[in-house]
């Protein structure tokens, strides 16, 4: 049934899979907005969540992951896209379709430095404004790196 639902939407899918009971599709970054327009028009009106992820070992390191929910038929889809340029990752903003995307994208920008093109106010939200790093990137250390008494190896990490 789930596969059929996705087929009827005719999304511009690059690849898809189903993990732990949820449909997951990979969308090219150019088709990101178009995909959500189709979803929004088909009842997927609740943008549950949007966040980023950093995969330092893959070619394109910055991913954006969104969850949408159709409340009428209770169907969720997870959508992923990959930003092309690692030095300046860019993904189109969903704020035109979902007002709720505003802070979610600001949070993603704040922690991963992913630029959301078309966002009305892409500024830091949880970290202080004068911060220069993007702290959720994998190369950003958890501990203050000027200290050597708290090296990760000492804790078995």
């Amino acid at each position: 049934m789930m596969v059929k639902l996705l087929d009827t939407l005719q999304l511009p899918i690059v690849s898809r899979r189903s993990t732990f009971g949820m449909d997951e599709v990979l969308i090219a970054v150019e088709d990101w907005i178009k995909t959500f327009q189709v979803l929004h028009a088909n009842g997927y009106s609740l943008l549950t969540d949007l966040c980023g992820a950093h995969f330092p070992e893959s070619d394109a390191q910055y991913h954006v992951i969104a969850h949408v929910h159709n409340l009428q038929i209770n169907h969720r889809i997870r959508l992923k896209t990959v930003a092309r340029d690692n030095s300046n990752p860019q993904v189109p903003s969903l704020t035109g379709l979902y007002s709720g995307a505003n802070w979610m994208e600001r949070e993603t920008f704040d922690f991963y430095g992913i630029q959301f093109i078309g966002h009305p106010n892409l500024t830091r939200i949880l970290n202080s404004d004068d911060m220069t790093a993007y702290p959720m990137r994998k190369d950003f250390p958890l501990e203050d790196d000027t200290r050597d008494d708290k090296k990760d190896e000492a804790f078995g990490r």
Binding site: C51, A53, H67, L71, G100, W103, L126, N127, F140
Partner: protein, 391 residues
Amino acid sequence: MTHSDHLVTVNLGPTHPATHGILQNVIQLDGERIVSAVPTIGYIHRAFEKLAEHRPYYQITPITDRLNYCSSPINNIGWELTVEKLLNVQTSQRIDYMRVIIMELARIADHLICNSILGVDSGAFSGFLYLFQHRELIYEIYEEICGTRLTTNIGRIGGFERDFSDIARQKIQKFLDIFPPALKEFESLFNRNRIFMDRTIGVGAISAERALNYGFTGPNLRATGVDYDVRALTPYSSYSDFDFDIPIGESGDTYDRFMVRNEEMWQSLRIIDQALRRLPAGPYHVDVPEFYLPPKSDVYEYMEALIYHFKIVMGEIPVPVGDVYHSVEGANGELGFYLISDGGRTPFRLHFRRPCFVYYQAFPEMVIGSLLSDAVITMSSLNVIAGELDA
């Protein structure tokens, strides 16, 4: 004369008694009317998502305590359910029912704070005094079950660390006996109170369409008339076994949010009563020795328990690889956990879908054009919890 000449800027927060947490609103006033409101958040950001990438799974439960600290057990159990989904662990009915009892108690504690503080913010202090002592009873139940009160760290991956004691059952029963009259008294003070109704009806209203567009969930969405409840739509932890109604409002204003939360407390009492009466016998934790820490006495006596204890603590047990999203109906809405596992001892990525964070961004839209004092009760009725807002 330009419009901005006579505007007054007011800082509501970060440490203002009306914000009930460390968050700031820079509000511009034209006389008494709000022209713009800019929320500034992040004052208690504690980098939980970063921290979680460096903690083994069982050590993340205490981190989740600090999200919505008014209903920590829901966060704890939500996280445990997420990991159980990743590990494909099926819990017994007894565990599910115990969890349901605790989660519904937490929901009552949360709604009770929200509604009684809404009274305080609108100038009616007495309701707060009547209800607040009953939160103490809930905290005593937590204390009996897990040893702590506010940041509970309740349960474990795979169940509970100990069974409900007789005292715990007595305390829950006592709460079920004592709380309904108090709630009734509270309702009789507020529900048809002319002053309270004038103060809240039509204040901070949002339409169902806008609320959905903003990603509202939970009581705030239901107050607008959308009957979305994770417990009913995607039942987890045997919620489908229980009989309960989903109260909805109509206009999405402060009064409707208040009424929805009040009714949800009654429904939670119904669920707890059913779960307690039908609490099945059985084990209070699942037999997954690879993930459930053995009792300490066993670790000292049995080789196998010692090995598992060591392996769990040192993170030597592989977990499945994949992406998991699991959500529970938190006190404020859909509390989601998005977990990317790479098979290691810590999550590769863990994102908390915090309902507060998502719906608080609608605050400016809800208060622009209203009075400053309306902004205070709107914020109060949204139940913005700084811990959940900032993660």
